[in-house]
């Protein structure tokens, strides 16, 4: 977890160092969410790349292990709820499906056309020992965008799921002092904006620098300072070059 106040203060410090400009809490919150999602979504492509690279077995420099640790922060257990068999709904904070099980037996994902084929063969027909699921969209903005059909239809209990959750939106909450300045407000409070209080970045603590640089890059765009954008982009590129070489 990365403290949202530390990030905001650092960003402000760098931006204001030479009186370059100011980033309001509302602007910061928007950028924070954008950056967090951007970094988070890169993990999966990076993992794919790391898995194809030569491996080492060191304690702290194993890229696969380190990346996996960063992803693990978002791993969560939940429940898929049975609606009308074979329909199931997913947890609302689902980002990527890990594994779904029934009575300790893993469900295998198949496409609709595969299902049509496998259910015709007595050898491959889904059973309670080897169940399968088909993904489909819900087209309902109030629930998770994905749903699934589980086969065989004799399965009608809620199913445990292990998944990657969507990162919560980071929020730097504040209240105003007498001079109109923004005071950081961590806990929920009626006077805070928003009243629910602050929400920290959920990314792994090692991502603090990365978050700050990325926010700075976007902040440079907002305050129209190409030097900030250029410097931040250069530093991010350097970081990535070191990480991926």
């Amino acid at each position: 977890m990365v403290n949202v106040n530390t990030v905001y203060r650092t960003v402000l410090y760098i931006l204001n160092k030479e009186q370059r400009g100011y980033l309001t809490p509302a602007e910061f919150n928007k950028l924070a969410n954008q950056v967090q999602l951007e970094i988070f979504e890169k993990y999966f492509d990076e993992m794919n790349m790391v898995l194809r690279m030569p491996v080492n077995n060191s304690e702290y420099a194993d890229r696969e292990k380190n990346l996996d640790e960063k992803i693990s922060v978002f791993e969560k257990d939940g429940s898929c709820l049975s609606t009308t068999p074979p329909n199931y709904s997913f947890p609302v904070d689902l980002h990527r499906i890990g594994s779904i099980s029934y009575n300790g037996k893993s469900l295998e994902r198949v496409s609709h056309s595969e299902y049509n084929l496998i259910q015709k063969s007595p050898f491959t027909k889904p059973t309670t020992s080897f169940p399968v699921y088909i993904l489909k969209g819900t087209f309902d903005s109030t629930i998770a965008p994905l749903a699934m059909d589980v086969y065989p239809t004799t399965i009608n209990t809620n199913l445990p799921i292990h998944y990657i959750k969507k990162p919560s939106e980071p929020i730097w909450a504040y209240k105003k002092n007498a001079q109109g300045g923004f005071i950081y407000q961590e806990a929920a409070s009626a006077t805070a904006v928003p009243a629910t209080g602050s929400v920290q970045f959920e990314l792994h603590p090692t991502e603090q620098t990365n978050i700050i640089l990325n926010i700075l890059m976007y902040a440079g765009v907002i305050i129209r300072d190409p030097q900030i954008v250029q410097n931040a982009a250069q530093m991010i590129a350097q970081d990535e070059a070191v990480e991926k070489s």
Binding site: K105, S106, E108, E114, I118, S121, F123, T124, F130, T157
Partner: protein, 392 residues
């Protein structure tokens, strides 16, 4: 922790007992049987267990019989029985009660000796864990593909490697035919049983055949059709003749005192006797043929009312209960699946495929030797007759 999970009580006695002290009651009964508890077993009974209770340990009452409307609940893993909230719990305010879950006989028999087998489910899961993944020869695979090859493997192994001989004790009715068993793939041996319980092999014969169709014919020999333009079928006269045949005329078991050898037509008596009886027909155990038209075994007339044993092979997949593999053939199963997976993939070097082909063959040979059950002591006992003089 070892692989055995059920207690001695569960294995040997086929039961799990619970002591419910006086004044308390119990609704949830957990077990650790290897087999799954079932509320309904197709074609066998309503359930494969009984939930009973007693206050003296002698007289037991079946819970289901007390309240027939009660439908017990079984957990998803099929190990725990729960009495529903609408039904009374087991327990007494006046005495300590013993409750027990007892397996019915057929379930108990199925449980006995179960340790020598590994389930099909375990085979598939073990294969996925050990042979599929990053840095392995098979990096990714569809589980349904593994299931397919595993089941095909079970079938193939059942034909000639596994101990899959099934048998039925039957009596031959006056119609001289018996229906082929539901899970029949091929016969191993048919024998009639004498009064001492000793088997006498009944041989298949080519002396007769069972016609697949028996169309009725008109005067010109053409098939006669019904109102739906389909050929009319009659009964087989060949079968009728075979059923009515005097088997002694075939096997040579004649009453030689009244054989009438001086009669001018004496040579018609027995099949091939003129040039000496053909040894393949000189046995009195009887004959059978397979009537594919009716899906039945047909027997010769001397076997009416005989007690027989029909030994046959199945493919091991006739029901879920069947689908288990002897541990002696476990490695052969993994090798079979691995070879089948690699052989069916593109871009797998041929030397890898060949390596697994050899591994499969070697593992299968090992399994066959192990399952042949050749024991040195038994072999020695059979060989004791090697020096016995055979007088001619």
């Amino acid at each position: 922790m070892g692989l055995i999970t059920q207690t001695n009580e569960e294995y040997y006695a086929g039961q799990k007992a619970y002591t419910i002290i006086q004044g308390s009651s119990q609704k949830v009964f957990s077990t650790s049987f290897d087999l799954e508890l079932e509320l309904s077993v197709d074609g066998v009974s309503n359930s494969n267990f009984n939930l009973e209770y007693s206050t003296d340990g002698i007289n037991w009452s079946n819970y289901i019989f007390v309240n027939p409307t009660v439908q017990l609940e079984i957990s998803v893993d099929k190990k725990t029985i729960t009495i529903p909230s609408s039904a009374p719990a087991i327990g007494s305010t006046t005495a300590t009660t013993i409750a027990r879950i007892t397996l019915k006989d057929y379930a108990k028999w199925e449980n006995y000796g179960g340790y020598q087998y590994i389930s099909f489910e375990d085979i598939v899961n073990n294969f996925l864990v050990a042979y599929v993944g990053e840095d392995k020869l098979i990096p990714k695979v569809k589980r349904t593909d593994v299931m397919f090859h595993a089941k095909r493997g079970v079938q193939e192994f059942n034909y000639d490697t596994l101990k899959s001989i099934k048998s039925q004790e039957l009596t031959i009715p006056p119609s001289l035919s018996l229906v082929i068993p539901q899970d029949y793939v091929n016969y191993v041996e048919l024998s009639y049983i004498d009064s001492s319980g000793v088997k006498h092999i009944i041989y298949p014969t080519t002396l007769t055949s069972n016609p697949y169709t028996v169309p009725l014919q008109d005067d010109e020999g053409l098939p006669v059709e019904d109102a739906f333009a389909e050929n009319l079928e009659g009964t087989s006269l060949i079968n009728k003749a075979w059923r009515q045949a005097n088997q002694n005329n075939i096997d040579g078991q004649q009453d030689w005192n009244n054989v009438g050898v001086w009669d001018w037509n004496w040579w018609k008596l027995m099949y091939g006797e003129r040039y000496g009886l053909d040894p393949q027909y000189s046995q009195s155990n009887g004959w059978f043929t397979i009537d594919e038209r009716e899906g039945k075994f047909s027997f010769s007339s001397n076997l009416t009312d005989r007690l027989i044993i029909l030994e046959y092979i199945s493919d091991g997949l006739s029901s879920d209960l069947d689908t288990k593999v002897p541990k002696m053939a476990e490695e052969a199963m993994y090798m079979h699946i691995a070879y089948a997976m690699l052989a069916g993939r593109q871009n797998v070097p041929e030397y890898i495929v060949n390596r697994f082909k050899k591994d499969r063959r070697a593992a299968l040979r090992n399994a066959k030797i192990r399952l042949s059950n050749i024991k040195l002591d038994e072999f020695v006992q059979i060989m004791r007759g090697k020096s016995k003089w055979i007088k001619s």
